[in-house]
Symmetry: C2
Subunit: 116 residues, 2 copies
């Protein structure tokens, strides 16, 4: 049975205005919440922003640490959270690791915002 | 001194591609993270979605509790978090409280997504 079928829509219409648009399913709400939780940190938002701001959409880890004013292990931890959540991809070339934003990875959040 | 002036942009250009777009300021990153934290819960996302789905953008608290399958105190807690974070406005009429999404309150998040 689909998640949306579990929602008793009749009750939503019981006392005031009727429902005229689709309500997010429980399953989707869990996905959006998980994505937002992974992003909801100022350092992680700034890291994503820094990666996106680089000319070719790729940033070397060596360029990300110092501007944040955080220790290298802390930056590595945040990069790991962003990678594990699917927002960043990581490529190693020579000494350095390079990060890119995974295309479409923010769509789960922008899609939710578009519906409300 | 503006927050953005604290960012040593020279360092960002030290080893790989140059910075070609604006990086989110520390101050904005804190605002976006705070907004995402307030939303990053499946029940709160579903509440916002339910309010938005009502025909006139207004939902009675009596319509929101049962479909979520959560206790009334739990739903009240989530509505309070969303109201305090500025996403929902609350009006009392007679016995019931009615909730609306505050126009533009999600712009802080969609604005960030647009830049990355």
């Amino acid at each position: 049975m689909a998640i949306t079928e579990l929602l008793p829509l009749r009750d939503l219409q019981a006392c005031c205005a009727p429902i005229t648009r689709e309500v997010i399913s429980e399953e989707n709400a869990v996905s959006v919440a998980r994505a937002m939780k992974a992003l909801a940190d100022p350092a992680r938002l700034r890291l994503l922003s820094m990666v996106a701001a680089h000319a070719d959409g790729e940033a070397c880890v060596c360029d990300l640490t110092e501007p944040l004013g955080l220790s290298q292990p802390t930056v590595s931890h945040h990069l790991k959270v962003l990678s594990e959540a699917g927002f960043l991809s990581r490529t190693k070339r020579g000494t350095w690791a390079y990060y890119r934003i995974v295309p479409g990875s923010l769509d789960v959040i922008s899609g939710f915002l578009a519906t409300v």
